[in-house]
């Protein structure tokens, strides 16, 4: 079975050592997904697989046959950005921008996790409703590092979108 990336089907790589990250960047030219540490520590390579965020550097492409992958290119375009992409621009949620695709993919899934009522380490109750507070967002986004330290604006951008979704 092929792998589907941003709604388009591709054949898997022949070399079984190729990570999902290298497959996206090197083989397919989808260079929006970034290679930071390549060891699952920085989150720059975060993509969505069947809606769940994962580190694409720690996953072999060969293990994703039949999966549906969404990268930053699949979330929006310069002409039609997603709400989070727009909010990162409005709040200046970056400096160099290298971690931004991973931050936005991660935050996209995170808002869905909150909507599903999934608790985090920062949640007072495991069973109660979850709100996208600053503390919750910081805990839930801890797998995405920003070496420029744009965290305050990243959190503001995500809070903004969470509030828009609450209002909708």
């Amino acid at each position: 079975m092929p792998i589907t990336i941003n709604s388009r089907a591709y054949d898997l790589p022949e070399d079984n050592r190729v990570t999902l990250l290298d497959f996206l960047r090197h083989d397919l030219g989808l260079t929006g997904t970034k290679k930071g540490c390549d060891h699952g520590q920085c989150g720059a390579c975060t993509v969505l697989v069947d809606g769940m965020r994962i580190n694409s550097c720690l996953s072999l492409a060969a293990m994703h046959d039949g999966d549906h992958v969404t990268t930053i290119e699949g979330l929006g375009t310069p002409d039609a950005p997603s709400r989070l992409q727009q909010a990162f621009v409005e709040h200046d949620g970056y400096q160099c921008g290298y971690c931004t695709p991973g931050q936005i993919c991660s935050a996209t899934a995170m808002l869905q996790e909150i909507a599903s009522g999934w608790p985090s380490d920062a949640s007072e109750s495991l069973e109660g409703p979850v709100a996208a507070t600053g503390a919750e967002i910081r805990e839930r986004m801890s797998g995405n590092l920003c070496r420029c330290g744009a965290y305050a604006n990243i959190v503001a951008a995500i809070e903004d979108v969470a509030a828009q979704e609450d209002a909708a």
Partner: protein, 328 residues
């Protein structure tokens, strides 16, 4: 990464048969194994993809416990309704570990089998008896901040890094294991991981060709369940010390004190003497101190990890105080 053959197992027995070869490793979430393969700490000749085996379910057991399939992800376990309501300790421990991205891939079986984060183990230019038997232990006279203070040996002072298994140890869970001939056996999670002794390369009791199929939780246990993890930043870091506790008080005295500790040893640490000391007694700061005396009576430090001994004492006291309402 060294070249390897890649196979997919469709059936459990087939997977176990393939893994009977010592150069073959099963892969599911891959979050630890792929990292170690990039570092050439792990160099399997063959990987067997087991992620499509039907081991991902979380089901009630007949006696009211819970059977967590080996391929259930850490996320699936932590957000499962019954884990949240009946085993909050386990949900808390999982949520305190790693990042959401990693928990989405990491599995129950893989989490139990994850390797130490000892910096000498993960650096192939350094000596390590666990990675390369007989090469020596770099940590013994090196940087030992992450390292063990209980159950160490002259061969290895590495720690088991996980959180999930610490909660399972306090809960007294059981690991279900299958082999290539279709036989299964059960091992208490308290006996699943090994101490380093003179075989530090052995992390756990799995034999070649054996695969974890599930972890079985006992029926819900009465009492307050707490997991406290002390680390060097408030999220996404390994435990320096962690304490998992199930505590019950009746008539002002301990009727239950099931405790397990992370970050202190080569395995989630469980010392029955600690609960024996607490049971039947009134909680007090002095009693908590006496419990720590028993817990730590054989503790030994290796330079930089000296802080772990007083930290374990204080964390134990803080958890028992929170569980019982005693002021320290």
């Amino acid at each position: 990464m060294k070249p390897f053959d890649f196979q997919r197992a469709e059936r459990l027995e087939h997977a176990a048969q393939l893994c009977a070869d010592e150069a073959t490793k099963p892969i599911a979430g891959g979050t630890n194994l792929i990292d170690l393969m990039k570092l050439q700490v792990e160099t399997p000749q063959t990987l067997v993809d087991i992620q499509r085996l039907p081991l991902g379910r979380i089901d009630d057991t007949d006696d009211g416990g819970l059977r967590i399939g080996a391929l259930a992800t850490n996320t699936a376990t932590a957000v499962h309704d019954r884990v949240r309501s009946d085993y909050p300790l386990l949900a808390r421990a999982i949520l305190a570990g790693a990042s959401q991205q990693l928990r989405n891939k990491a599995t129950t079986g893989g989490n139990l089998c994850q390797r130490t984060r000892c910096y000498y183990f993960t650096n192939i230019d350094q000596p390590c008896n666990k990675r390369e038997p007989g090469s020596g232990c770099g940590a013994l006279k090196g940087i030992a901040r992450l390292h063990a203070v209980l159950g160490t040996s002259s061969e290895c002072i590495a720690t088991y890094p996980g959180d999930m298994a610490v909660a399972m140890t306090a809960l007294g869970a059981t690991v279900e294991i299958a082999d290539a001939k279709g036989r299964t056996r059960s091992v208490s999670v308290r006996d699943f991981h090994c101490l380093p002794g003179d075989t530090p390369w052995r992390d756990n009791v799995l034999e070649e060709g054996e695969l974890i199929t599930a972890v079985i939780l006992p029926p819900p246990i009465e009492g307050r369940q707490l997991y406290r993890k002390v680390r060097e930043r408030s999220s996404y870091a390994f435990a320096m010390v962690s304490v998992a506790a199930i505590v019950a008080i009746e008539n002002g005295r301990f009727t239950r004190a099931d405790l397990a500790f992370g970050g202190l040893a080569h395995k989630p640490w469980h010392d029955p003497r600690v609960s024996e000391l607490l049971l039947g007694k009134e909680p007090s700061a002095q009693l908590f101190d006496a419990a720590a005396d028993v817990l730590l009576d054989t503790a030994e430090s290796y330079g930089e990890n000296e802080f772990k001994i007083p930290l374990a004492r204080r964390t134990l006291a803080a958890v028992l105080a929170e569980a019982t309402g005693v002021e320290l």
